[in-house]
């Protein structure tokens, strides 16, 4: 059977995100509980999490998480990492085998920073240097896959139900101010750990429910800007779109939302002349970045999270607030199981972003 990257595999899903807007950290237990409630939205072929603020002792270093098929693959990559980075620490990511997750690839993490000479020579800024490095490993090294590459954050994912994956990675021992998670219902999968979600690049992490119909238009657009869609998944292309718009084109998250879930022409017609010009320009210039078809997506980054539905809300997405906490999930019950009486709970309109920012960020 062929894996993600060789074939495009549509999937349905569950997503959940929990943010403490004061930046206070809490354990991964909560998010496991939330995603576990939506067990039936997954089929045991993929689950994963992203946590922000989990590595305070290495906050200024890039935390690389890698899957290896075998030690041979690791040896090649080790040499490549060594060549580009100072490695502060390299270790096996602690896991706990269970009957639900009986096998896994080799799972390692490295805390690194770019070698100054190499970085200067590359002519790239640090983030682009990092991004290119990740593309190179994922595209060029057989049996190795970088699944997390940000600072003070990390993704944890694999083949299995999300709650079992969470326990496998002992997420109860990590504390984060933002957790996102994903349970996957692929329609066809070889059970490759790299194909589980979230998908990450630098500090971005994306969990997504849907099957976007604009995929190839979006893919061919981002590929003009140096990205390489090796997994052929929606989540991957959505991550690159946000990376392109925010990091490379310097947009605010709000403007990026105006691109990926652009208002309808008939709504634009009703705006003031200045606003009309702006949105016409957005639709004209970034038409190929419009994400079409059903999706609900949670984008995590160091500053908080953004949750968004497609323009006509073809996927469920519920949001809730309680004091400094912000919750978003595919189902209301997945919020109520961890926050019984929220101050406010609502279903955001299609195309209307829920943006939660960490106050001190």
């Amino acid at each position: 059977m062929i894996k993600e990257g060789q074939v495009r595999i549509p999937s349905g899903c569950a997503i959940s995100g929990i943010l403490n807007r004061k930046g206070k950290r809490f354990s991964g237990d909560t998010i496991i509980k939330s995603i576990e409630l939506m067990h039936d939205r997954s089929n045991g072929l993929g689950g994963g999490f992203a946590g922000y603020g989990i590595y305070p002792e290495f906050a200024d270093l890039y935390a690389l998480h890698l899957f290896y098929d075998d030690m041979g693959a690791k040896a090649n990559v080790d040499e490549f990492i060594e060549h580009h980075f100072e490695i502060e620490k390299a270790e096996v990511i602690p896991t706990k085998k269970s009957k639900e997750i009986p096998t896994s690839p080799l799972i390692w993490r490295y805390f690194v920073y770019p070698r100054k000479k190499r970085l200067d020579k590359s002519g790239l800024d640090e983030q682009e240097y990092m991004a290119q490095f990740v593309f190179k490993i994922n595209d060029g090294f057989k049996g190795a896959y970088v699944f997390s590459s940000g600072k003070n954050m990390g993704a944890f994912k694999g083949v299995g139900f999300p709650e079992d994956i969470g326990r496998f990675f002992k997420l109860d021992t990590y504390n984060a101010y933002l957790w996102t998670s994903h349970g996957r219902f692929p329609t066809n999968t070889p059970g490759w750990w790299g194909g589980a979600h979230p998908f990450t690049l630098l500090n971005w992490s994306v969990v997504h429910n849907g099957e976007i119909s604009s995929y190839d238009a979006n893919r061919r657009f981002v590929e003009m800007f140096g990205y390489k869609c090796t997994l052929m998944t929606d989540t991957e292309v959505i991550t690159y779109l946000f990376d392109l718009l925010v990091r490379k084109h310097g947009m605010s998250l709000k403007e990026a939302v105006n691109v990926v879930a652009a208002p309808f022409w008939r709504e634009i017609e009703l705006l003031s002349d200045e606003e009309k010009q702006k949105f016409e320009a957005i639709r004209g210039v970034y038409g190929s970045a419009l994400v079409n078809g059903p999706f609900s997506v949670i984008l995590g980054y160091e500053g908080g999270m953004l949750a968004l539905n497609d323009r006509i809300k073809l996927r469920s997405l519920v949001a809730a607030e309680k004091d400094e906490m912000l919750y978003v999930a595919s189902e209301e019950a997945a919020i109520r199981i961890v926050c019984e009486n929220p101050d406010r709970i609502w279903a955001p309109r299609g195309g209307e972003p829920i943006i939660g920012l960490v106050e001190d960020n």
Partner: protein, 501 residues
Amino acid sequence: MSLQLGWPDYLVERDENRCIQCEVCAKQCANEVHKLDPDTGKMVADEAKCVNCHRCVALCPTRALKIRVNDLEFKPNANWTSNSIKEIYKQAATGSVLLSGMGNPKPFPIYWDKMLINASQVTNPSIDPLREPMETGVMLGRKPAKLEFDKNGKLLTKMPPQIKLSVPLMFSAMSFGSISRNAHEALARAATELGILYNTGEGGLAKEFYQYGQNTIVQVASGRFGVHAEYLNTGAMLEIKIGQGAKPGIGGHLPGEKVGEQVSMARMIPQGSDAISPAPHHDIYSIEDLRQLIYSLKEATNYTKPVSVKIAAVHNAPAIASGIARAGADVIAIDGFRGGTGAAPQRVRDNVGIPIELALAAVDQRLREESIRHEVSLVVAGSIRSSADVVKAIALGADACYIGSSALLAIGCHMCQTCYTGKCNWGIATQRDDLVKRLNPDVATQRLVNLVNAWHHEIDEMLGGMGINAIESLRGNRLMLRGLGLNQKELDVLGIKHAGE
């Protein structure tokens, strides 16, 4: 022995029991096929003159007429087909280049018909266009590489001039001269009513049509007929015509007999004089010269209108398109080898150029590899026959399509391929007043509007079926296409997978 070899291509069958000798057929046929024999009191036909345009059949009040292809055949020969033989006879008799009209009729592969469109099932929902908004609007023009905003979200980037179309369709360049005044009027009025554009072709623009300027593309071709400052500033978009799919690499020739008073005024040439467009523009011998013309036109219109450059689809189209984009064109129009024409040497029409499907796929891919596809608009032409062709063209990477032959069919063309004779019985490709007045501009306008509206509905349905509610999400979305019966090389050029993959 007579050397006048050959026989009529068509047979006129008249049902004598039905014919009432009303002579409508005789009056309607500009080719003078029918006439009343005063001796017998019966209608007779000189079938050698018949072009099978169906005018007499359509207007015969008793349905007494049928035109059949003459089945008298040469001895079967797979190599020397009857057409090949007859063409030799014709050229031996005249010593002339064979002339033809409309697009390439040869049985080359039609790639549109070997591509199939996707639809949503279960894993994502299709969208009902009757209940949900469906967006088919397109913006043509140069786009900046990125937009910049200030911290309050105010747009800082100044947008170059753009054209908005309600549907990704425009009427192709057809000059006043090659088509009649009434046909021209219908195209202009329909484009205006539909919120799309029509194209003047290279024949200039009659003053009476300036009122439709906001929906007009004014063309500048190698003959520069009718080009002046007011003309340029009247159009919404300008187009430099380098080539045409029906006759890549060669110029054009409007015979003097078609240059009556109105055509003469529009083209700014004396009445009765031949209008000859040279093969190249004599001020464009290279890509850097094209840049100068593009910027001359932009200067002349104060940078308020997009400039398109139209080329025929030829072997090296991707590299040429890249050069055009870098020369400053805002829109690139590519015309495939099946594109129509009022007149073209038959050998050129049937043998020069490549299919638009392959040219489009290759150009779109090349512009993407050079990271400039998003900065220019791509318009394709050269036999777009239905809304399905439009959907496939956009999925391959086009922003919009030009339709010419389809538009003429909508107003009564019967594809008899003899436009060059100037005797179009349907009042379309003629300048004879008695024929022109047969085409009622009101009716023709309505039929063009109907055609585009019908296609619009069909595009909505197919988009919704794919789970897409904005046409830009289809543009270049090649996963929505699958090939059927294509070899791997063809699939690779088209950038699509085979059905079942």
